[in-house]
Structure formats: C-alpha cells, structure tokens
Amino acid sequence: MLEHRLIIVTGKGGVGRSAVTAALALRAVHLGKRVLTVSMTDQTGLALHLGRERLDYEASEIRPGLHALAVHRPAALNEYLKVQLGVPKVTRMGPLARAFDALASTAPGIREVVTMGKVLWEVRKAAWDLVIADGPPLGQIGSHLRAPQTVTELVPVGKVREQADWMMELLADSSVCGMLLVTLAEELPITETQEALTWLTEHHVISPPQVVANRILPALDASSRQINGAGPGSVQEAALMHTALRAEQQKWLTELPPDLQLPFLFGLLTPPEVAARLADVWGEE
C-alpha cells in the first residue's frame, strides 16, 4: 500500500478515518518517506490526531518528514482558478470567484473537482514521496472520485475540461493511487463498505481498495467454564461483555474479511497517542 504516491482514506462517519490516516502517515514517515497528509473535509479530526488544533491551507511541518494541510474551500477555489485555470489574480477575487462558487454549489462535480484537484495537484508537484488524504466520508466518495468524469460530461471543452482529463488519468493509475476503506465490525459500516466496494468495481475510477477493520477486540484466553467459574461479579460481567462483543464483531468480519485489523484501544488515550499506537500495530504487520 505504501508504494503508492497517493492513498485516499475513506469510511463511514465515526469509524476512525482520521486516526487511521494519521497512523498510516506516521508509519510511512518511520519508513523514511517524505509525507504530506491532507484533510479533504473541514472537520478537525486529522489535525487532532496529529496533535494540532487545526490545519491551514498552507502545508505546515508536523515533524521531520511529515507535513499536513486542510483543503479549505475558498482557498482551494482561488488556487484552482490561478494554478489550474490560469486566471489572473485581479479578476479572481470578487465576482468571478463568487460566480464560480455559485456554480460549484449547483453544477454536479465542480465542487468535488476543486477538492480532488488540490490533492492530485500535490501528487503531481512531486514534492512528496507520498500523499495521504483523509478523504470525504464513504457516502460522498463516489461523487468525489467520479467528479472529473462528471465535469467532462458537463463541460465539453475548455480549461476545466483539460484539468479533468489529467485528474482522471492520475486517479486510474494503479501504480500512483491506492485507497483504504476503514470500517468497524458492525452492521451499518460493513454494509456501506460492501456497497462502496461494489460501486468501485463497477466504475473503475481507481484501483481496488484495501479494507481496514478498526477497533477489533482481541480473543479472550479463557473458556466458558472458567468464565462461569468466576462467579457473579465484575470479573464475570466484563468477560461476558467481551466475549459477546467479540462474537458479534467476528460475525461481521466473516461477511467482509478485511486486509488488515486494527485493535480496540482501551482506556485514556489522547488522539495523538491513538495514532501512534495504531502506527506501531501497522509496523508489526
């Protein structure tokens, strides 16, 4: 997975997408790569897992080898107009930017292509060995991956169209782009992940993703006789809770066997501690 130049991480809300993104980035840095992590949404999850309050549009250094930025929409739009469409600054501000914003809110694909454009532009700049994107939630991943295609259907000629063409090529190149779907071993995340896998198989916009199951409970090394023998009380309660939760998880894992399992982390951990622990697990695999 880490041989790619871009990894897009996605998953249903609440499955730990940002933690996994941060962990993957730490792992890649540990292997000596120059890494950029990008938050594609305006949520602060990635920032917190990197030990920051927030991330700016300008890439900032988190630690040697690791940079991070967040795609804030107005800034991304401005850069898109300047770098990709070659619109001079004087006309960028004001009416044009606002007109473009109106367009981006209405016409399918435009908003997503601006966000995807920023990420793919960073890949193309080749200042990093690896770009890891904390992507949009699973429900929006299709419209983002398909955005360049949507735009070419909408806009037959012109600069926006030309930009969409190279984006599609880059995304579809399996040596460049990889994808991680993060899930939990629960009904809704598993069902949505299966639906996303079907969609991705049908649309061929990106090479087949890997699935990471997060917060997986370890096996309890005790027989049911031992558990019964413990007698009523918190020891037995915790054991019954654990075995029941684990059985439920294992059932969902057989529905969708993941490429990697990350452990449930017990107790008081800060978001950066969570990312560091998960990165260690990644190293052991």
Binding site: G13, G14, P108, G158, E187, L220, V235, E248, G267, L268
Partner: protein, 345 residues
C-alpha cells in the same frame, strides 16, 4: 390534539437511529400515539420497526398498536418540496434538471431541510401525539436548526446574485451573462454555456422563494416547540458536536432537553477485585480502564457545560426486537421521560 416533536441529534455513529426507535417504542407502550421518522436504519432495526422500503409514508406497526414508522427519502422529499412551492410548469422543469439533484445534495442544509419540512408536515396532520425525528447524520447536530434560514437564503437568490454580479435579473430573456467581463473569463474557462444554464436553473429555484420562506417560519416555530435530545458517546468527535449546543448562540440552537451518553460501561468496573492475575482479571482491568475513561469524560462534560447527563448502557448485542429497544430505555439512567413527552404527564 397537537403533536409534540422530539428531535434526536448528534454526530455520526453514536446510535441516534437506535435511540430514536427505542424512545418511540417506549412512548408507544406508554399509550402515546407515536411516529418515528428514521434515516438509514440498520436492516435488523428497520425490520423490527416493520419498515420495508424507503419512503416517507408512515406505516402502522403490525404488533405495536401505537407505533408508526417512516424512513426519510430526501430526494423524493425535495421533488415534493418543488411541487409544493414552485408553479406547476416550473416544478416539472426543476425536477428534470440534472442541476436539481446535484444542488439538493450539495447544499449542506438540504437534507436537513427536507427532513425538517417532513417533520412539519407530520406534525400538522395531528395524527400522532408524538413525532420522533432522527436527524440527518450530515447535519452533525446544530446545522439542523439553521437549515430553514439557510435554504431560504439560497433559494432567495444569493447564488444568483453572485453569478450575475449583484443584480437579480427580472426575466430570463433579459440578461446575458457573458456581457460581464469577469464572467467572460469564467465562460472561457468553462468553455460552454454552463453559466447561463446554471443561472436559468437558479431563476427557476427562485420561484420557490415565497412558499419556502413562509414554510421556513413555520418550521422554526415547530423547532421552538420541540424537545431536543443530543446523543453522544465518550469519543472526541461526537463530543465536539455535542459541545456545540452550548457554544452556539441560544437563538440559533435550542437548549437540549437531554444529553445522552450512549454505550456506557457499568460503574463497578473501576477497581477490579480481587487483585489476582490471569486472563479474566486482565480483561476486567482493561475494560475497567475503558469504563474509567468514560466516567472521566462524562464528568468533564457535565462540569464544563453545567448540565445533567443521562446514560444508556452498552449492550453487546444490537437491538433486533421492540422488546430489546424498550429494554434499552428501561436500563437508561437519568432520562426524564415525562419532559421528553415519551411518558404522558
């Protein structure tokens, strides 16, 4: 008879849909005629509620006399909204326009608005004592309450004004966008009549303005009359969403009537006894650490925002029957069911 409204909000993955259903079942079993409007329930939960297909038509439950359930279909709701608020010919044109679907998916407030308008429709039929609304996950929490104002603003021409550089054109034949220098450049970049098509679409959207503005005022009145439950777990992301209810201005967001921590571990696991070793003790120690973390997070939240907290226990099995759902509320601590309208006063 007037319907009370119970809004269940919170971040993604906290169990909003399950708790909405659980509160609705509890209300129904207390003799309250209840409709629960869910969004994207798990299959087993949908089955328990007797829901088969997506659709906003409420259906009575086979085995639970006072319970009705419906599932929000935002796309269908938006088509109905267009037909309700725009002239018939314009509405037909709107729903066939590919921009319509994109716009109603893109506007951050649009799923919330669709849900809020359905809420108002259900309340006004007065067929139920209580309408329980599972709010859209995309809304996170507080955005649900600003959705009507947001939609009114958007439909009213904010985007169109931007597109035309300030003026709102009166008739579609009277304006040519390319006459404006800035838009000529945009036109060159986009290489087509795209901007004009967008402008035409936005002008069609504007015909909904009067109807939608009136409706928004009514919806906001329903919000003021509603009870609000904020659901969270002890995880950082949903906690940030929950805290926004206290950080935002009170005229934007109501004070929650209950803060519910879901998936709570038992109290007695903090200090495992007896102090021996072995896998069972190790297991209790790690779960005890998790229980301790949860307690600390709840204490911190309660102290910071000076609020009472209700708890719902972590059940190893997802509820699959109405009895499971009712048991969830029966085992909850600190929930004032009278205040929420779930138990008659």
């Amino acid at each position: 008879m007037t319907s009370k409204v119970l809004l269940i909000t919170g971040g993604g993955g906290v169990g909003k849909t399950t708790l909405s259903a659980a509160l609705a079942v509890t209300a129904a079993r207390n003799g309250v005629r209840t409709l629960v409007v869910t969004i994207d329930p798990a299959r087993r939960l949908a089955t328990a509620l007797g829901l088969k297909n997506l659709g906003s038509e409420p259906s009575p439950h086979k085995n639970e006399p006072n319970l009705w359930a419906a599932m929000l279909d935002a796309s269908a709701s938006w088509k109905a909204i267009a037909h309700r608020h725009a002239p018939a010919d314009v509405a037909d044109r709107l729903v066939d326009n590919p921009f319509f679907e994109a716009a109603t998916q893109h506007f951050p407030a649009s799923q919330s608005y669709a849900s809020a308008e359905e809420m108002a429709n259900y309340v006004e039929t007065r067929a139920w004592d209580l309408v329980v609304i599972d709010t859209p996950p995309s809304a996170g929490g507080i955005e649900f309450f600003s959705a009507p104002a947001e939609m009114r603003d958007l439909v009213g021409g904010r985007l169109l004004r931007w597109l035309t550089g300030g003026a709102l054109p009166g008739r579609r034949t009277l304006f040519t966008l390319t006459a404006r220098p800035a838009l000529r450049i945009a036109g060159a970049a986009l290489g087509s009549d795209l901007l004009e098509r967008v402008a035409e679409f936005l002008m069609d959207m504007r015909t909904m303005y009067d109807g939608l503005a009136r409706r928004a005022v009514q919806i906001e009145q329903h919000f003021r009359d509603a009870r609000t439950v904020v659901v969270t777990t002890a995880d950082p992301a949903p906690l940030r969403e929950a805290a926004r209810f206290y950080r935002e201005l009170p005229d934007r967001v109501p004070d929650p009537d209950a803060i519910v921590f879901n998936r709570v571990l038992p109290d007695g696991w903090h200090n495992p006894k007896p102090p021996t070793d072995g896998p069972l003790i190790e297991n209790l120690v790690r779960w005890g650490a998790e229980a301790h973390r949860q307690t600390e997070v709840r204490k911190e939240f309660a102290a910071l925002w000076k609020t009472d907290i209700a708890t719902v226990p972590w059940r190893p099995k997802t509820p699959t029957t109405l009895d499971d759902l009712a048991a969830l509320i029966a085992k909850a601590k600190g929930l004032n069911l009278e205040r929420l309208g779930v138990v008659p006063q």
